[in-house]
């Protein structure tokens, strides 16, 4: 049974379409990341799920109950805002107890539960501290604890870690994932950071210009991107324009590749990750080999990046430092594009800028 079902959710602002018929089934207990560049509609989609934006079309249901027209305060979803939205006039404990106070929970029960939640987010004893006296990471934890206070059916987070510095952000990503796993709560996080999505999500939903491009587990999104946008947005990839020449054969700049999964004819787009591109001795013969010249090399420490010019197209290859061939920029180089690592995509389509 699906916990949350989005059926063609649409949001229009005048003639601008922020979200374009988003459909998605999210099973219980999943950690979902809505991923995309800024302005892709991911936050609008999350706000529609939270009940803070009214959809212009489509339905939304949870456990087979339609909640499209249920106001935000009756949905019982916990949400963490990008600004965190902690109440400045209340202490950390009072912030966490706010939803309990609204429901008329007795004061000592409120205090007990707030202490328990602070324990959960590893901030024990902070109940009486004013919000203004907390650090960025601590505020984050208070916001998470407050959103979880009612044991919500759905835990929503809008770019929750964007205000933290890089190191703390990484630590919080892991902590958030562990917390979610422990509580088993269905969670939806909006992020523009693909590393964050890959770290935390069971299901990555890649969005652009108001449309869902792909919804799949992180490694599938990485290994088998649905289109050029997804391939290019998630990590680094080489995109090669090609055309089907014969069954199982495609011509690309600088040569011909033997590939499975090719359409019978027409133009195609090939995606291959830089770490899958193999460097071969110059002039080596064999299938799926392209010959070019090395234009640029940079040492990234853990790996070495090669930029190779093949008949006007640039191919990026990543190699381990110990596999580095003895070739200088300007020298001839041969690359192998293994058929198993190439993903055949429909031609054209939108690409990230």
């Amino acid at each position: 049974m699906s916990a949350l079902v989005l059926d063609g959710l649409t949001k229009r602002y005048g003639s601008f379409v922020a979200v374009h018929g988003a459909s998605l089934r999210i099973p219980h207990g999943r950690f979902v990341c809505l991923l995309g560049p800024s302005g892709c509609g991911k936050t609008t989609l999350l706000r529609m799920i939270a009940g803070l934006e009214e959809p212009s079309g489509g339905r939304l249901s949870i456990d087979d109950r339609d909640i499209t027209d249920t106001p935000a305060h009756k949905r019982e979803f916990g949400m963490v805002f990008q600004s965190l939205a902690l109440f400045p006039h209340l202490t950390a404990g009072e912030n966490i107890a706010y939803p309990l106070r609204i429901r008329g929970v007795p004061a000592d029960e409120q205090r007990r539960r707030a202490a328990e939640l602070l324990e959960l987010v590893r901030l024990p004893g902070a109940a009486d501290r004013p919000v203004s006296k907390l650090s960025g990471g601590q505020r984050q934890r208070v916001a998470i604890a407050r959103a979880l206070a009612l044991e919500p059916k759905l835990f929503l987070l809008d770019e929750p870690l964007s205000a933290l510095d890089a190191k703390l952000r990484e630590a919080m990503q892991i902590e958030l994932k562990q917390l979610q796993r422990r509580l088993g709560i269905t969670t939806i996080v909006v992020t523009h950071d693909q590393r964050e999505a890959m770290t935390m999500a069971d299901l990555v939903v890649v969005m652009s210009q108001g449309r869902i491009h792909q919804a799949a587990p992180p490694m599938e999104v990485y290994r088998r991107p649905a289109d050029a946008f997804v391939a290019d947005f998630i990590g680094l990839t080489n995109l090669l324009d090609g055309a089907v020449a014969a069954p199982g054969m495609a011509t690309v700049p600088g040569g011909t590749l033997t590939l499975p999964d090719l359409p019978p004819q027409g133009r195609v787009l090939l995606s291959i990750r830089p770490e899958d591109v193999l460097l071969r001795p110059p002039g080596e013969a064999g299938s799926n080999r392209l010959h070019g010249t090395l234009s640029f090399v940079r040492d990234l420490g853990a790996s070495v990046e090669f930029r190779i010019d093949v008949a006007g197209a640039e191919i990026i290859a990543l190699a381990r430092p110990q596999d580095r061939p003895a070739v200088e920029p300007g020298g001839a180089v041969t690359v192998e594009l293994p058929a198993s690592a190439c993903v055949v995509l429909p031609p054209g389509g939108e690409r990230p800028s």
Binding site: G78, F87, R101
Partner: protein, 284 residues
């Protein structure tokens, strides 16, 4: 940025001008007023420098005590009503599109250009029997025949709230425009209806702004001396009216000055008390 104390005259220069203005336009006139308040009145004439406290003694009568109490009550009521109406109004205003906000603010600023006299006569016309709003009610069948609603306490209150309203909105506006709307959204996802979120989040989060605006409106209303005469009955005359009466019509400058000094001291004391109460709550 210079952190050490300024040494030379040149370093003091930036505050010299405001300091001078404060002395010329506040310290000197107020000192003069204190001096006049203890002067001896020459019946039929003016006054002579002296050190008599008879004017202050005259206060301690039930009549002036009553007038003072009424003035404070009226100013307090005006402040509460102006903020009570102005706060939700400004909250809504700050959420309108930019262009609409500008139109409303220009409209409110234009009210500020009206003098107290114009406001007073406009309201007394609006509430009169012959040309007032009751004629409209009669036309609509809500009333049997037109009647006069002024002078009365209600008319006075309406006029003074009207006069204080634009100031209230202008003082509240910056804080409400900066107010993070996601606080209300957070309250809603945590189970508060929009109305409940307004009272449990917006109002308490802005309580110091509200307190400051209440004090401003209170002090503003305390100084009103024309509206009570235009819209109120003699029993609605405030201390400011009596001061004007003594100073201009009775030619009793010493007594008028004594009342003015007393009014300033009482309002300062009330403001200090309000601030003190606010600080204590902040600490608690």
């Amino acid at each position: 940025m210079i952190r050490r104390a300024p040494r030379s005259l040149a370093e003091h220069a930036p505050i010299l001008f405001p300091a001078l203005m404060l002395v010329v336009f506040f310290v000197i006139p107020f000192s003069l007023m204190i001096a006049v308040s203890v002067a001896r009145r020459v019946p039929g004439g003016f006054y002579e420098p002296d050190l008599v406290f008879a004017n202050y003694e005259r206060f301690l009568t039930a009549f002036f005590g009553g007038v003072l109490a009424f003035s404070l009550e009226l100013a307090g009521l005006v402040a509460v009503l102006a903020v009570g109406i102005g706060f939700p109004f400004t909250y809504r205003l700050a959420r309108l599109p930019r262009a609409a906000q500008v139109r409303w603010l220009v409209f409110l600023l234009s009210i500020l250009s009206l003098s107290e006299v114009i406001i007073g006569f406009a309201w007394s016309t609006l509430l009169s029997r012959t040309a007032g709003i009751t004629n409209l009610f009669v036309a609509l069948g809500l009333m049997a025949e037109p009647q006069s609603l002024t002078p009365s306490f209600g008319a006075l209150l309406a006029g003074m709230v009207y006069q204080a309203f634009p100031y209230t909105v202008l003082v509240l506006y910056p804080a409400l425009a900066r107010f993070d709307p996601s606080l209300v959204e957070a309250a809603r996802t945590l189970g508060s209806s929009p109305l409940r979120a307004f009272f449990t989040v917006v109002v308490p989060a802005l309580r110091s702004t509200i307190a400051a605006t209440l004090i401003m409106a209170f002090v503003f209303a305390l100084g009103s001396y024309l509206l009570p005469q235009l819209l109120g009955r003699p029993q609605h005359w405030t201390l400011s009216v009596l001061i004007t009466d003594q100073a201009i019509y009775q030619s009793n400058m010493p007594f008028a000055a004594a009342m003015a000094v007393f009014l300033v001291l009482v309002s300062l004391a009330l403001v200090a008390l309000a601030l003190l109460a606010g600080r204590r709550r902040e600490e608690a």
